[in-house]
């Protein structure tokens, strides 16, 4: 029993980082109908922004803000340099996909040059060593913090999308760019804000995962991007609450496939699920949430 509960804790903790990352991916998709392949690189960038800030002696909450802003900045950059330019020239949206893949490779290259290829870690802190044990189940202080931060980010995004004028603008653009233009929504600015939010979420999850697993490397975003795409298919493309649920679900599926099937099948089961979902429920597991699309 305690093993089961421990695996539950492991899965939720892993899932929270997936959820935050996938929210960014799905937001972009929901608004622009494109997949931004550079989200993984923003995730990596955010981890390095946070790391640099932490190494300068900034406390963790401020470092997280730096990671957020840094990731957001990269998001804005990708819109200004790539997506906006391509849209202005009437480029097909596949061009954006390929161009964003190129941007991701470039950012990885820059990180390799700037920080080296070796794995780095966040500065050790006694606070991070704290853990509690309940009937054989270990819960780390860090896991709790990351879960809380993830939930706060999710709540903040939900609030922003549902209750603020920016959110209304984003949802209008998501519905139709033409309609948005007719009702006077500044489309260009709204898209820019969306890219900022998506980048910021990627950056924040980069720092969260970097802290949780003690790993910061130029290549950390590549695997995460694949996970993010899995999650948004699970949750339904463009479906923000679906991405949150899908993130936790993927974390749990991965952990429990190791726990009760075999560790060699971890990814096979996660990715195998994509096929099943696409065949059975192509709109994602949570397609009843469709009306809540961003």
């Amino acid at each position: 029993m305690s093993t089961f509960l421990q695996q539950l804790v492991n899965g939720i903790s892993l899932g929270s980082t997936y959820a935050v990352f996938a929210m960014g991916c799905t937001l972009i998709f929901g608004v622009l109908n494109i997949v931004n392949m550079a989200q993984g690189a923003f995730f990596m960038g955010g981890a390095y922004f946070g790391l640099e800030a932490a190494q300068l002696g900034l406390p963790a909450p401020l470092a997280l803000v730096v990671a957020l802003l840094g990731g957001g900045l990269l998001g804005v950059l990708s819109e200004l340099v790539i997506f906006r330019t391509l849209r202005a020239r009437g480029g097909h949206r596949w061009m954006g996909l390929v161009a964003s893949l190129a941007l991701a490779r470039m950012l990885v290259g820059v990180a390799q040059e700037a920080f080296g290829t070796q794995v780095q870690r966040y500065p050790a802190s006694p606070l991070l060593q704290i853990s509690w044990e309940f009937g054989g189940v270990r819960v780390q202080f860090l896991q709790v913090v990351i879960l809380v931060v993830s939930l706060l980010l999710m709540a903040a995004l939900a609030f922003l999308l549902q209750r603020s004028s920016v959110g209304r603008a984003i949802r209008t653009v998501a519905f139709s760019e033409d309609v948005a233009r007719i009702v006077g929504v500044p489309v260009g600015r709204t898209i820019l804000i969306t890219f900022f939010l998506a980048g910021a979420l990627a950056g924040a999850s980069g720092m969260l995962l970097g802290n949780l697993f003690n790993v910061v490397s130029p290549f950390m975003g590549e695997q995460m991007l694949v996970k993010g795409l899995t999650v948004i298919i699970l949750g339904g493309l463009g479906n923000v609450p679906g991405a949150v649920a899908g993130g936790f679900l993927l974390g749990l599926i991965e952990v429990f496939s190791v726990a009760y099937v075999s560790s060699s099948f971890r990814d096979a089961i996660g990715f195998g699920l994509i096929f099943v979902i696409l065949l059975v429920k192509p709109n994602g597991l949570f397609s009843s949430f469709e009306e809540r699309r961003a």
Binding site: G11, Q112, V215, F219, Q223, V255, V258, A259, S264, R266
Partner: protein
């Protein structure tokens, strides 16, 4: 007819010109194929490049090779075996190197070493530890002791000291080196009569090992054997302790886990981590002291096992150049490398056995306060 004469004349002139040069200095080109980019591989590649270049500088400065001058030509293969093949071809066909040191990864060795074997250019690896590398051909050597030569000794030490009854294994399933390390570990555990109660795997790029380690914790083994590179091993060790695998469970690693990075990434959790090595930083000998001093002076940091083994590789080359009287005949040069015996190296006397494997005394290291220390029984 006329053309042939001209060609003969030209080549004669060339030969004379070359001979004139040779009087002053005969270059011995050494290809150094080490990954200095590309994730985990670079961790080992940079160290070996450093070790080899230090030895080349030392030997050239000492004048012990007389007119022969060692010239290191480094090529980065990024830990990618396709790239290793390209680099080998360039070094052999264009640079005409006498010997290649490397490559960093065993996977690359299996792809590229046959090219050198076919061309008759000796290869000396200093980080390939999987079985079967020197078996590629009679021109392939290594100064890195294979896992099978090191691990049984380490296990014997652990068995004597902790009397373990059960073991768990975790290893990287998509890495040639780690899969073979796993097989070596398994065989050694079985022959020591230690029962394997849990076997788990992970893949390159994984960062979360908590699910596997929770399963291992439930199996409650006396020892945990990790088949992983340094960065992976560090994270597994740290997460194992975080999940409450008790200190009474001794954690052991593969040869490849020896890196100064391990302690940095794992922190205090790495205390008591046991691993076997061919070289050890505090090994007390004048040769090792000279190596350490030279390395620290040149690079401002401490070397690791792989730097030490690459350094030894270059001294093996220099020794063979001397005995073979140059590298104009690569067959003779290869035979001289194969005949290396009792060379004074930074880990004691160094020889090659008939399978072109290093003959050394493996050392058991235990991590203590962030440093590998020689195990005392």
């Amino acid at each position: 007819m006329k053309r042939t004469t001209l060609a003969l004349l030209l080549s004669a002139a060339g030969a004379i010109g070359f001979a004139g040069l040779a009087k002053a200095e005969t270059p011995v080109k050494i290809g150094i194929v080490q990954a200095t980019s590309g994730g985990s591989a670079a961790l080992y590649g940079v160290m070996q490049k450093n070790g080899a270049e230090l030895a080349i500088d030392e030997i050239n400065a000492s004048g012990k090779l007389g007119d022969y001058k060692l010239i290191g030509i480094h090529q980065d293969d990024g830990g990618d075996r396709g790239q290793t093949v390209n680099v080998f071809q360039r070094l052999i066909n264009q640079e005409k190197v006498a010997v290649i040191l490397g490559p960093t990864l065993t996977t690359s060795a299996f792809a590229a070493d046959p090219i050198a074997q076919k061309a008759g250019v000796p290869v000396i690896a200093s980080s390939n530890t999987a079985p079967g590398v020197p078996e590629i051909g009679d021109y392939i050597f290594r100064t890195s002791p294979p896992e099978a030569m090191v691990f049984p000794g380490v296990l014997a030490y652990v068995k004597k000291k902790f009397a373990p009854k059960t073991a768990a294994q975790i290893y990287g399933i998509d890495d040639v080196l780690m899969k073979s390390a796993y097989a070596v570990h398994k065989k050694a555990l079985e022959s020591e009569g230690i029962k394997i109660v849990s076997t788990e795997t992970f893949q390159k790029g994984d960062v979360d090992y908590s699910a596997q380690l929770t399963k291992i914790k439930a199996a409650n083994p006396d020892i945990l054997v990790i088949g992983g590179l340094a960065e992976e091993t560090a994270n597994i060790v740290r997460q194992a302790r975080q999940l409450g695998i008790p200190p009474s469970t001794v954690i052991m690693g593969a040869n490849a886990a020896i890196s100064n990075k391990l302690a940095e990434l794992a922190g205090a959790a790495a205390n008591g981590f046991v691993v076997g090595a061919g070289w050890f930083i505090n090994y007390d000998s004048p040769t090792n002291k000279a190596f350490l001093d030279g390395y620290r002076k040149k690079y401002n940091s401490d070397p690791d096992t792989f730097a030490a083994q690459a350094y030894t590789s270059v001294y093996v080359v220099a020794d063979a150049v001397k005995r073979a009287g140059g590298v104009s005949d690569l067959k003779k040069f290869r035979d001289a490398i194969a005949a290396t015996k009792d060379l004074e190296a930074n880990n004691g006397k160094f020889s090659f056995d008939e399978h072109r494997e290093p003959v050394i005394q493996p050392k058991v290291l235990v991590m203590k306060d962030g440093k590998f220390t020689l195990a005392t029984d």
